[in-house]
Amino acid sequence: MRIDKDLVAAAATPLVLAILVEGPSYGYAILARVRELSGGELVFRDGMLYPLLHRLEELGRLRAEWGVSPDGRRRKYYEITPAGRRALEEQRSQWSAVTATFGRIWDLAADGGPTTAAAR
């Protein structure tokens, strides 16, 4: 299953912020983590991640710093800021509301929803 690109775009910001709550990270590792967490179903093209990171940086939700990896490679590490955590908290409650709503309607549907609704 391939997730629709609009949905991926909507999920990208909270997903990146949530991954950085686990600790500072860099572009490649963030993508690998997304792939791992979603079981490969959520794919954002690598080139799309960096504009997002820079946008979040300019909004003050992330802090970026060039560093060096253990094997001597230059890497730009991103770290979440308090403002980023607040934004994530906000997004999280919104996503919870959305998923809870879907959970309810699909439970109803599984119980033979349309007929019950019509009967009311």
Binding site: Y28, Y50, H54, R55
Partner: protein, 443 residues
């Protein structure tokens, strides 16, 4: 990693660098990502070519990347992508507040007009521009949400000098009065800078330069439109209400001009992204034109001789041209990404600087002769001081500009130089406005 692979990565990187929307630091980051990806794919058992192709494919086509970066880098576009909470929550309130401040500026100037009917020839023009700038500063300060210190500093800076100047007994046809009229607003404008930067001037002066250039552009546009509107209205009313054109210009143009200043400031802040894209274009168009203009003028005066009749008007025209060239150079720097390598426009800017320097020396020479023949006047001192200041600024700018072109360095040093001398302009404006009139007996 083999040389062949390295070459392919370099080629890819060059292609990326040509996409102008991707900045150097960002391209570095993408390249690091690409190399990382290639390593992982190689570890998974792919050969170099396969790893490179798949890594590039995953990163996305260069044009797609640059499109994404264009979105990210021109902040205006991504404003549309922002979640609603940042897009425009307070915009309505903000518009209301701005309108209130614009109205305040207009009303204050109108009240000042009514309060100074007889003495309006000196008192009104001495205060009105600073008053309008003070309201703009207040509007900026309330936006910045700063404490009382910047308020006091900015408003005191703007309003105290004109308050002193109106106590001066200027002679009816004195030279000192026009000088004060010109220099007070210049000094006051730096007070608007204090407000714009929320009182933290150090290291951020360039932002204020950019603001100044942008507000000038908007203000000119508004003034043009407003002038046309008032003239048309006056012309239409004229048959039924004789004298309405003159009345409109005399009574309503100043308050409207004051209110327009706040509106122009608001346009700069609200439409930041529009003008940010416009500014480099304007700078790129006008820098070569000014370079040509200064060189032509310098050559003409170089051939035509220095002893020509340097009257007051010509002097003023010279100074305006020099100031305009310097201001344009400064504004161009403020719109320039300091990380960009030097280019043709930088060379044109250097030509304009050298041309201005030549002109300035011509003018200084003529001034010196005039002072030698005819003695000192307030006008000549003001012109001499300004031209000496400009010589220093231009020599510094020329040296740094040459160094920048030769070493293919960045514009950072030039920028530091220009911003470091900014306070000198303010100091000289204050001296001309407040110190010269008493020295020359208010004549």
């Amino acid at each position: 990693m083999s040389a062949a692979l390295d070459a392919r990565i370099t080629e890819w990187r060059a292609h990326l660098d040509r996409a102008r929307t991707v900045r150097t630091g960002e391209a570095d980051e993408l390249e690091a990502h690409l190399r990382e990806q290639i390593d992982v794919l190689r570890d998974a058992g792919l050969d170099e070519d396969e790893a490179f192709l798949i890594a590039v494919k995953r990163l996305g086509a260069v044009d797609a990347i640059s499109r994404e970066f264009a979105v990210a880098n021109s902040a205006r576009m991504w404003k549309q992508l922002l979640p609603a909470d940042e897009a425009a929550p307070a915009s309505r309130r903000e518009t209301g507040v701005t309108a209130a401040f614009a109205l305040l500026a207009g009303v204050l100037v109108l009240v000042l007009e009514l309060a100074t009917p007889g003495g309006s020839l000196t008192v009104f023009p001495l205060i009105a521009p600073s008053l309008a700038i003070a309201v703009l500063a207040a509007w900026l300060l309330q936006r910045r949400g700063v404490g009382w210190r910047p308020w006091l500093a900015a408003l005191g800076w703007i309003l105290v000098p004109p308050a002193i100047a109106i106590a001066y007994p200027f002679g009816a046809s004195s030279d000192a009065l026009p000088l004060a009229l010109i220099h007070l607003p210049v000094f006051a404008w730096f007070g608007a800078g204090i407000a714009y930067l929320g009182g933290r001037w150090r290291g951020r002066a360039m932002q204020f330069v950019r603001f100044s250039g942008e507000i000038a552009i908007y203000y000119l546009l508004i003034a043009l439109g407003g002038g046309v509107l008032l003239t048309l209205l006056g012309g239409i009313l004229q048959p039924l209400l004789p004298g309405s054109l003159a009345a409109l210009m005399q009574w309503w143009a100043p308050p409207l001009a004051a209110g327009a200043l706040v509106v122009a400031g608001w346009l700069v802040e609200a439409k930041q992204r529009v003008i940010e894209n416009l500014a480099p274009v304007l700078a790129a168009v006008f820098t070569p034109l000014f370079a040509v203009a200064t060189v032509v003028a310098a050559v003409v005066y170089g051939i035509g001789g220095l002893g020509g009749p340097f009257d007051r008007d010509l002097l003023l025209a010279f100074d305006l041209l020099l100031l305009l060239v310097t201001a344009l150079g400064l504004y161009r720097l403020s719109a320039r990404d300091p990380r960009r390598p030097v280019g043709v426009i930088d060379a044109a800017a250097l030509v304009a600087t050298l041309g201005s320097l030549a002109l300035d020396l011509v003018e200084l020479w003529s001034l010196a002769t005039r002072i030698g023949d005819l003695g000192w006047t307030a006008n000549r001192v003001a012109a001499l001081g300004l031209n000496l200041l400009l010589v220093v600024v231009l020599v510094g700018a020329a040296i740094l500009g040459i160094r920048m072109l030769v070493s293919r360095g960045t514009s950072a040093a030039l920028e530091r130089w220009h911003t470091a001398v900014l306070p000198a302009y303010a100091a000289w404006a204050l001296i001309v406005a407040l110190a010269l009139p008493p020295v020359f007996g208010f004549r």
